[in-house]
Symmetry: C2
Subunit: 454 residues, 2 copies
């Protein structure tokens, strides 16, 4: 069934026809939300469509994956954020493709006509053509991903505690490999090291969680390759201090549910986390315009797409250049692009011409562990506790709403002061995870391993 959603209908009305231009924003991430907010009060009918009902503060998603935060601490309902903006309607729906000539967004079960479009569907992870690695090595882009990673990490310790093979068997469960040394990989590795060293220590009887092996594998010759060499060196030093093994210049060749292979060796493990590749969301392909090798839309200087002045692409879905450099895929850039696209629409409805986008680089931050971060703030390079305070301040500042700020600060206080991670829940079906990598199955009536005298 296809439904065309009338842009401005209130309950009880029939289709309410109005002449206001219709703006559709696809995606409620940093870019889409900033665009929507910028359009507040304008004589427009704005519809923001997202396949999720919440805006996710992705920079802290690794803390959900490592049981420090609840999903709801960093996910706020989009309609809650925008509830006072009367010219904007939020719609739950998944956008399949864009019909440029017909000026409509095709949803799974309907369509949304538009006069102006802002496409902000972001990126997903990429396995470089090895989609078979998706199951053994989950990535971290969504709340579901984070819960799955949390499950796997916590189940690994549970499985180690009950593993009958007390040599290699336990070791495989207590080895965690993170593929990719970008900010997500570094933050995950640091958090896993802290969990094993500080949080779980007294909770087990047979295993000693602090003996866990945490390995960060990066194909480039330094971690955080998008940051300054100073920050890379500082992050690597801190990771090693936390007990993380850092393997550089090591492209991964294969992953399955019992090992990771690379040139010259392999590591036996049941828990591999993927923080390596990023690919733009597939909807960009339906535009029929040139894409770069990551699938990002190559936009004009004003963020419109070639040949279609009323369609803007922003955030991780766009490849934006500024002063000869590519704008990085960070939240601040997406927000600036969202606001720019919104302002260009406001100019267009006044009959003015669009202007090129200017990127203001606010810098990049990455947390390594408790009290330790690295920061490239334009010319200033910070590391250690000062950088961590900057990281803390920026993340709390950009969180939306009193509620999220309060709970994130409270959870962190408990993590740091009491060495407790509050969200150590294994949800869903545990059985398949407990038996990962056990390919040989003994007959059910084999004698018990233990023959204890009565």
């Amino acid at each position: 069934m296809r439904i065309a959603f009338p842009p401005a209908m209130t309950m009880g009305d029939r289709v309410h026809i109005t002449a206001l231009p219709r703006v559709v924003i696809v995606g409620g991430g940093f870019g889409g939300l900033a665009a929507g907010r910028e359009l507040a009060g304008a004589p427009l009918q704005v519809t923001l469509v997202d396949s999720r009902n919440y805006h996710l503060f992705q920079p802290l998603l690794y803390q959900v994956a490592t049981a420090a935060l609840n999903p709801a601490d960093i996910a706020v309902p989009i309609r809650r954020i925008l509830r006072y903006q009367r010219n904007l309607t939020v719609l739950l729906g998944c956008a399949d493709s864009i019909d440029l000539s017909g000026r409509r967004v095709i949803l799974c079960d309907g369509e949304l006509p538009f006069d102006y479009l802002i496409l902000a569907t972001g990126a997903t992870h990429s396995y470089f053509g090895h989609d078979e690695w998706r199951e053994p090595a989950p990535g971290l882009k969504t709340v579901e991903d984070a819960i799955e990673i949390r499950r796997r990490v916590l189940v690994a310790y549970e499985a180690a505690e009950r593993e009958p093979d007390i040599g290699a068997g336990i070791e495989e469960w207590m080895t965690f490999v993170i593929v990719g040394g970008g900010p997500t990989g570094v933050e995950l590795a640091g958090a896993l090291a802290e969990i094993s060293r500080r949080v779980l220590e007294r909770d087990f009887r047979r295993i000693k969680p602090r003996l866990s092996r945490i390995v960060l594998i990066e194909a480039a010759d330094r971690v955080l390759p998008s940051m300054s060499p100073h920050s890379s060196a500082a992050a690597e030093r801190e990771l090693r201090r936390l007990g993380v093994e850092v393997m550089l210049s090591t492209p991964v060749l294969d992953v399955d549910d019992s090992r990771v292979c690379f040139k010259g060796g392999q590591i036996a493990t049941h828990t591999v986390l993927w923080a390596a590749g990023v690919a733009a969301s597939p909807i960009g392909r339906s535009l029929g315009v040139p894409l770069d090798r990551h699938g990002r839309v190559m936009v004009n200087q004003d963020l419109t797409i070639p040949g279609t002045p009323r369609v803007f692409v922003i955030g991780d879905l766009a490849q934006v250049s500024f002063e000869g450099q590519q704008v990085p895929g960070v939240a601040a850039a997406a927000m600036q692009e969202g606001r720019h696209a919104a302002r260009m629409i406001l100019r267009a409805i006044r009959g003015a011409r669009t202007e090129p986008f200017h990127y203001f680089d606010k810098g990049v931050l990455a947390a390594v562990g408790r009290g330790v971060a690295v920061a490239d703030l334009r010319r200033l390079k910070l590391s250690g506790f000062v950088a961590w305070l900057a990281w803390l301040f920026v993340h709390i500042f950009y969180l939306i709403g009193f509620r999220s700020r309060f709970f994130v600060i409270a959870q962190w206080a408990i993590v740091y002061l009491r060495n407790e991670r509050g969200a150590r829940l294994i949800t869903g079906n545990v059985e398949p995870l407990l038996h990962r990598g056990r390919h040989q199955v003994e007959p059910a009536d084999s004698p018990p391993l233990e023959n204890r005298p009565r």
Copy 2:
């Protein structure tokens, strides 16, 4: 593969044989946990096995289902709770059956030999033989159940907002039916009424959430049939004041994904929640002893099972009589039974005889809405704000650990002071839920409903 888990093995050791009696506790709910704690310091090897890694504070689960609390606020890792109890090992595993003559618990993938057993696996919901109602009418026993109910309730409002049929179509989405007027049903109905009246009001454009219809259907002639008539009447009055339709003496005849049928009528709805029947967990059947019609094990006065003095059954899995009355299935009873079973084991290893169980009735409480509850405290019957304060105090008192108490209080403060429910996340795949009850599918190329002039 079957694994026999040696009761006391530390990493690096070979099987460590010891002569201490082995106690196995199956289930980490109120009963199992109380039993485990009572055995602290005793010359025993205790193993607590649960298919979940956390102890769930079930009395507040309805608040997870209605987006007020996070799952982690009421779920604490069992091994965290018991980490300082060195004679106790926690094991993640699902118990399949009990081999009484062989004195072992059969797990899905192994077995646990025991000298003493405490069986505390609790209850699940029962559809009175209509298992086909499980999909259209989820019950509320586990964290996954609560998240599913939350999904359905939140998706219903999203679907209403985008429903093209602005008459009956929207109404079906905005009708919520709760089957069963016990404490869970009453609490769910009250919370849904508050969400619709106070929380969602400004967040939608087309629908008016306060026009939602919330119906509580009970087969008996009063709500809270296990409480006093005074409390039943007070709860019903408060529910009606909140706008809940209360239908009494109305057994449900059929449920599917677009309606609930009863004698003399039906209600069109896509959201039915099941709070009616309770059945003991199926492991009781493997004991080969008499069960009551709810599948509960009919235990002796000392909580052992007939013919087997070393096996205790407690909590919702047991039918316990005291002074001619059945002990109710509440947390306080399970905890008392757990402690009793543990003490009887301590007596048995000293060579003493077991004693009959004495139930101390602390009373029953149920919350109806914000600031309103009912309480039967022995002879004292309370309702309204005083009962709610008692409810608040008791629930916070019984929550385990500083962390849970802090976050539950903080979340409640925000719910009550700011009319905000913090966990309004729809996780998982939304598409199938959005199209519940839409049995007729139009061809994909049918003309759009809207023909808006350009």
